[in-house]
Assembly symmetry: C2
Homo-oligomer: 334 residues x 2
Amino acid sequence: MTTIDDVARAAGVSVSTVSYALSGKRPISAPTRARVERAVRELGYRPHAGARALASQRTNVLALMAPLRVDVNVGVIMQFVTGVVTRARDFEHDVLLLTQDDLAGVDRVAAGSMVDALIMMDVEAEDPRLPLLRRQKQPAVLIGLPRDPQGLSCVDLDFEAAARLAVDHLADLGHRQIALVGSPHLVLERRTTYAQRMVHGFTTETARRGIAGLFVPCESSHAGAVDAVDRVFDQLPDVTALIVHNEVALPAVLATLRERGKEVPRDISVVAVCPEDVAVGQPQPLTAVDIPAMTIGSVAVDMAAARLDGDHPAETRLLSPVLTGRESSGPAPA
Amino acid sequence: MTTIDDVARAAGVSVSTVSYALSGKRPISAPTRARVERAVRELGYRPHAGARALASQRTNVLALMAPLRVDVNVGVIMQFVTGVVTRARDFEHDVLLLTQDDLAGVDRVAAGSMVDALIMMDVEAEDPRLPLLRRQKQPAVLIGLPRDPQGLSCVDLDFEAAARLAVDHLADLGHRQIALVGSPHLVLERRTTYAQRMVHGFTTETARRGIAGLFVPCESSHAGAVDAVDRVFDQLPDVTALIVHNEVALPAVLATLRERGKEVPRDISVVAVCPEDVAVGQPQPLTAVDIPAMTIGSVAVDMAAARLDGDHPAETRLLSPVLTGRESSGPAPA
DNA sequence: CTGGTGCGTCGAAGCGCTTCGATGACATTA
DNA sequence: TAATGTCATCGAAGCGCTTCGACGCACCAG
């Protein structure tokens, strides 16, 4: 292994000069720096990460805790992860991957000084990881919105605003009876809060605009989708628009509409709330509010970075939703 | 931060005794060990990962390079990753996640002593990472089979055997005209070698058994599937069985068969080569050769571990395929 | 009673780096 | 010409741990 000593010797300077030449934390004359750089190149020198971490109290590694179950939302998770890893590199950081259920991992990597900061995906309202995180010296960024974010940074899509946006889009097209086909019961009850936030935004906005709004949960399966659609027509027979916030059930919802003889958007408009690629990947490109998973991941890294090299306090950032009109929404039928 | 010094002081022993008590590398009397453990618990002591790495030349971290693109095979990738991360914990290791395209990452984490070993997914025949890997001191494990594995461990499903297994299953059921609906052109041409291995196994086994075998590539889209099925019926009109080795196109292939008036398995048998959950998740449970992604991931870790604490040389392990009969295969029509 | 043998423990070196204070060379000002 | 300041570089301490050799003690055989 070639060490900083080897480089110093080769360049004919002291070890500290090499260090400063490479870090730029003190001025080094151009010729000296050139000699150092040359030696580095010729010897193929790489600083030893552990030694550096020991001396500098910085590891240049981020922990990312991700739900590694093999479930249906895998696409979105992957996008988050990609966003985090990619952006981390912009800050010269690598990413250590932990599984969601590895509670002990929080202590292991944080108390063990393996990482500079932690990013947690899929945060629930009363997430058991929060107390662990709060007692670490490293900053943490949550993707999602717990009930009490005290001391922790959070980032997520503003789902309330997303619901409003979707409702407004449809209301402006003349729709007066709108249904929200949402998350499965389980998700609504005890998990991440985005489902509740979505419903809340939907309810208040329909109320505000004097529109008939119906919310039906929807299990993530074909049968669940059929069931949900049937419940909608049952309870709101004159419905003219659907907001679908369930990526998995989306294709089945669309198929069911077709089976029921409803043409989109002539008979009924559909606004999806899902990642863009899902919206455009359907048989018919869908008007949709984008869930920018990758962006959220990279913002999470930005927030972690901000807290690392600065006194930046914890903050909560809700990303403004964007609605893109495509072929699935149109004027309400007369 | 509490250090090993604090623990030593609290337990009334020397630093080295604490170290030995915790690592077990030298005998420590029971009472002393108890005092040390008590101090550790009371102080909440965690060894500093960097210091430990510096002194011991071990990081207890594995690098995993994964294709983080958001493509269709995301499910399998997730399973690999899960297998790796989970198994790594059994060996007291954490996982550092790199993206496939981060070539520089290999040097960064290996030469920089950030990891004890590297695992690379999705290895191509002439993978540009191989030369980089060979010059590192850390062992590497490849998931996939490059043309020249010299010095590197490899693990993958034995796709040749998988093809044979599928052919034999069908041949034993009396089928004499079998088509393989495979990977897209792109994959076949320049990428991971599993596609070629599959085709090779298929070709030789059909030949050996005197069966008419037709291979058609298949793009990973609905249109691609339709096209592939049409080509099959075009070039092999009396075909009675399909082997489908394209997870993405699978549903579309099935749908197309139905549209063409072919009932499975009455008119035509289908054997899939895909992860189990995909096979059973279809409208009709499919007879399939499992692609055990998670197992492959965990075997990769086992191989890395073996090379770490032992003189184990590099080896190549091909996992024996397993075929599970379900409802999509039956006797050839008379 | 002596010399040898283990066992349990200690002290110190060293892993490779960062960083602080000190130093020397040189230019600037009074 | 001496005092002052600036800039580039050096030396050494120290980050927290592992590990090697040494040491003291109890025990046993001779």
